[in-house]
């Protein structure tokens, strides 16, 4: 198996690369920086024709690649349509065009998100994509566009794997990114501010951990998934309230989750001033009604999520802080197992 991972330097991409390497596959990781923690890094850009690969790289990729994973794209919930569609729409289109030029392609997997279904009415299975849903932000719309494009190419062996929010310690090490997606709420919660959640967060949030998500992608390549759609989440189905509680536990903080609609409106109005973007408040209501039987489409055995990955996320946030503090104090050796936080230019995949 020769795997090309598009956007493989991100949060999920790195985990996928690691899982593939562990399974004995040859892994090539395409990113704009050309760096890779796992496998061979190749410099490229999905928005460009032929992925912006140099002639030498292109020849090698074309002649060897048998499997492709789409892990690229902006994960910001707050960016505008231009930035989101740049990767999710234009990028997916050019990546699909590139797949047509791969003579040995056996299977490709597009990593989609349950958020592509936005505020859907009714029960959702793997079959639905457009149910007349309304989108909360441009990220959801971007993921929808990407999956739409993938579904509209029946001639290509591209399967779709959908995840909810993906948590867990960053496989690249360092402090988990709290600038995008659900983790944007963590600093707020850890600082002890109250957060409004409908039913005090007692609704499923279809969360999973990064290593089991990566296993699922590998399984999709390996099985192979064909043109099917799979949805994966932690079968234990933690509720959003539980997720927040578990992430805060290593800090000795009990998150102040309240059901107070005025607080939600307040957050929406001035939350940005205290670092809680308006987009976050849109997720305070139950998200979507997903049929839990969708898991059965994935052939067994299913991967087992890491025990206490939520606690590990909180721990990683603490460790990140601690390592920053040790660095500030001028200590030469940061604590084992932690790296200094990265400069904030890279995007980390969340879902």
């Amino acid at each position: 198996m020769n795997v090309l991972i598009l956007g493989g330097s991100g949060f999920l991409g790195t985990a996928v690369a690691r899982a593939c390497v562990r399974s004995g596959a040859t892994v090539r990781v395409l990113s704009r920086s050309g760096r890779a923690t796992e496998g061979e890094g190749v410099r490229g850009d999905v928005r460009l024709p032929r992925l912006g690969l140099s002639a030498a790289d292109l020849a090698r990729v074309r002649s060897e690649t048998t499997h492709v994973v789409f892990c690229f794209g902006s994960v910001s919930w707050t960016s505008g349509p231009g930035e989101v569609l740049e990767t999710h729409s234009s990028g997916t289109r050019s990546a699909l065009a590139f797949l047509r030029e791969l003579p040995h392609l056996r299977q490709a997997v597009h990593v989609s998100s349950l958020l592509a279904l936005g505020r859907s009415e009714g029960r959702i299975t793997n079959r639905e994509l457009y149910t007349g849903q309304r989108f909360r932000n441009w990220y959801e719309y971007g993921k929808y566009c990407a999956e739409r494009l993938v579904r509209d190419t029946p001639e290509l062996p591209v399967g779709v794997v959908r995840f909810g929010p993906v948590l867990g310690p960053d496989p690249r090490g360092g402090r988990p990114d709290t600038r995008h997606g659900l983790p944007m709420a963590f600093p707020h919660l850890l600082a002890g501010y109250p957060v409004h959640l409908a039913r005090r967060g007692d609704f499923p949030c279809w969360i999973t951990d990064v290593s089991s998500a990566a296993e699922i992608v590998l399984k999709a390549l390996d099985t192979p998934i064909g043109r099917a759609t799979w949805t994966w989440f932690d079968p234990a189905l933690p509720t959003l309230g539980e997720v927040f509680t578990e992430v805060c536990r290593p800090w000795g903080v009990v998150p102040k989750i309240v059901e107070a609609a005025p607080l939600g409106r307040f957050t929406r109005l001035i939350g940005e001033r205290v670092g809680t973007p308006r987009e976050l408040a849109d997720y305070a209501e139950p998200w979507l009604d997903l049929d839990v039987d969708v898991l059965k489409d994935i052939p067994e055995p299913w991967p087992v999520p890491d025990p206490d990955y939520l606690g590990a996320t909180g721990e990683a946030l603490r460790a990140g802080r601690a390592s920053t503090e040790t660095l500030r104090a001028g200590t030469e050796s940061p604590r084992a197992g932690t790296e200094s936080p990265r400069a904030g230019t890279e995007r980390r995949a969340l879902s």
């Binding site: 460009l48 024709p49 912006g52 960016s79 231009g82 569609l85 729409s89 309304r134 989108f135 308006r278």
Partner: protein, 503 residues
């Protein structure tokens, strides 16, 4: 037409002395014959004056025997940049840069003559009247469409019977239609600028990423060009689409030297291969992200601007169709006016040509103009003209801020370069051109994007690209000379252009 014997130039305006080819430069040929000028510049001037009069009364600067809003120098048509920028000062909240960005490729606007500025009350009253005028543009367009169709039928009847009397009748009937067509075109063209400025401002207040979203949402729902290209496919020589195979604006495109400037591209017949399921529009996607009243306001504005764009293209097509009637009528009538007229009619104005029937001596006026035009055509004319020195020397108006390429229709497109006259290859293509006219429309469904040397936010090509939802970047020098097969990536949101070597 002119007081000076050896020139066909118009007199410049005494105060507003900066001219720009602007939008003329994109669709019109480089040079126009005096006859075409009298069919384009003259009614445009009259239409703009009438509009200004209805909106703001009779400002002294818009009166007089000289042209105010347009100019014709060295056989090249120009817009009076200074006058249009001054008009923008008469609308509250509008900046001269809104006008230059929309139609004049973002050149610097000349300094404002504050002494001529109108008062606040007049400004607001004028805007209210402008809104009312724009509301009535739709019915006016429909009535006009009927009249143009009638004229086309009249021409068909007159040509089949080959009767000079009937042809002269069509010539007589065509004049009011032409004036109305240009008047509506002026109205929609100028109305679009304040409406868009308003849209941008309201979006900025109501939405996060307002500017960007304005780009994505504003799309004309249906442009007239599709219908006309379908009509052209019937190859009916008197049908509504026949004008598409001839040059915009130039009516004497069968005669030297004017035919050299009337460049036409090849037409490509269109056939359909479209995506199975249309994805949701960004406009629909936005609906869930904002509160209902915001969403309604945003969409109403987007529709208003989109409709104005469609109206502008519609009025332009009607003006082109009327010009096409002249294009067929004038040579046919000229033969009945004698051999001289057959050769010299492009050098007459419409008025003089009409008078030939009763006073054949008018043809003498054309003779000195032949030499004058030849001399004018040999002189290169700048894009933007500065006549403020008043010494008859054509100096270019230089912009101090560098003009850079701009994205005018959002999205990213990558593909290989293709000129409009080339055959359509199998791979994704980016159409490159120096400027675009209607004939590019049939290619757009097959293109991934458009890269143009010229153009502004509201140019023809920008509106067409929006209609088809493909990205467009304008103001990229040397676009048309890119060799075919070069791989290009354009970003219609930021204006970024990447050129790759073919590997």
């Amino acid at each position: 037409m002119t007081g000076r014997p050896a020139s066909v130039d118009t007199d410049p305006h005494p105060y507003f002395t900066v001219y720009s080819a602007g939008n003329f430069g994109e669709v019109a040929p480089q040079r126009l014959s005096p006859m075409s000028w009298s069919l384009v510049g003259d009614p445009m001037e009259r239409g703009t004056r009438a509009l200004a009069r209805r909106l703001w009364g009779r400002p002294a600067w818009a009166e007089g025997g000289h042209y105010v809003f347009v100019g014709y120098f060295g056989c090249r048509p120009y817009h009076n940049l200074a006058a249009y920028c001054h008009l923008s000062a008469s609308i509250p909240g509008l900046q001269p840069s809104d006008v230059t960005d929309a139609y004049f490729e973002g050149v610097d606007s000349p300094a404002e003559l504050t002494a001529l500025r109108s008062g606040r009350t007049r400004q607001w009253a004028g805007s209210a009247r402008l809104l009312r005028e724009m509301r009535d543009a739709g019915p006016r367009l429909r009535a006009l469409e009927e009249q143009v169709a009638e004229l086309e039928w009249g021409l068909r009847a007159a040509t089949t019977t080959n009767s000079p009397i009937a042809l002269a009748g069509v010539l007589r009937d065509a004049q009011p239609v032409l004036e109305e067509a240009w008047a509506v075109h002026i109205l929609t063209t100028s109305g679009l600028v304040p409406v868009r400025a308003l849209q941008r401002r309201v979006y900025g207040k109501l939405l996060r990423h307002g500017e960007e979203i304005a780009h994505w949402l504003t799309r004309p729902r249906e442009l007239v060009w599709d219908r006309l290209h379908t009509a052209a496919a019937t190859l009916d020589p008197h049908g509504p689409g026949d004008f598409l195979s001839s040059s915009f604006y130039e009516v004497a495109d069968g005669l030297a030297p004017w035919q050299d400037y009337a460049v036409r591209h090849k037409q490509v017949a269109s056939g359909g291969t479209e995506a199975a399921v249309a994805p949701i529009d960004p406009a629909e996607a936005l609906a869930g992200m904002v509160s209902p009243w915001r969403s309604r306001t945003v969409r109403a504005l987007a529709v208003a601007v989109g409709e104005m764009m469609a109206g502008r293209e519609h009025s332009k097509s009607l003006a082109m169709r009327t010009l096409h009637i002249y294009r067929r009528l004038l040579p046919a009538l000229a033969t009945s006016f004698g051999e001289d007229a057959e050769r010299l009619w492009p050098y007459l104005t419409l008025r003089e040509f009409t008078d030939l029937a009763t006073s054949p001596g008018r043809i003498e006026r054309a003779r000195p103009r032949v030499g004058a035009c030849r001399a004018a055509l040999a002189t290169p004319m700048p894009e933007h003209l500065d006549l403020s020195a008043g010494d008859d020397v054509m100096r270019p108006w230089l912009s101090t801020t560098p003009q850079e390429q701009r994205g005018v229709a959002p999205g990213i497109g990558t593909g290989t370069v293709m000129a409009p006259q080339d055959d359509l290859p199998d791979e994704p293509v980016i159409i490159v051109c120096s400027s675009a006219d209607a004939d590019i429309a049939p290619l757009l469904p097959f293109a991934e994007g458009v890269l143009s040397e010229r153009g502004s936010d509201l140019s023809h090509i920008a509106i067409l690209a929006r209609e088809y939802g493909i990205p467009c970047v304008v103001g990229y020098p040397g676009a048309a000379s890119l060799p075919a097969g070069t791989a290009v990536s354009i970003n219609g949101s930021t204006g970024e252009v990447n050129i790759f070597d073919r590997s």
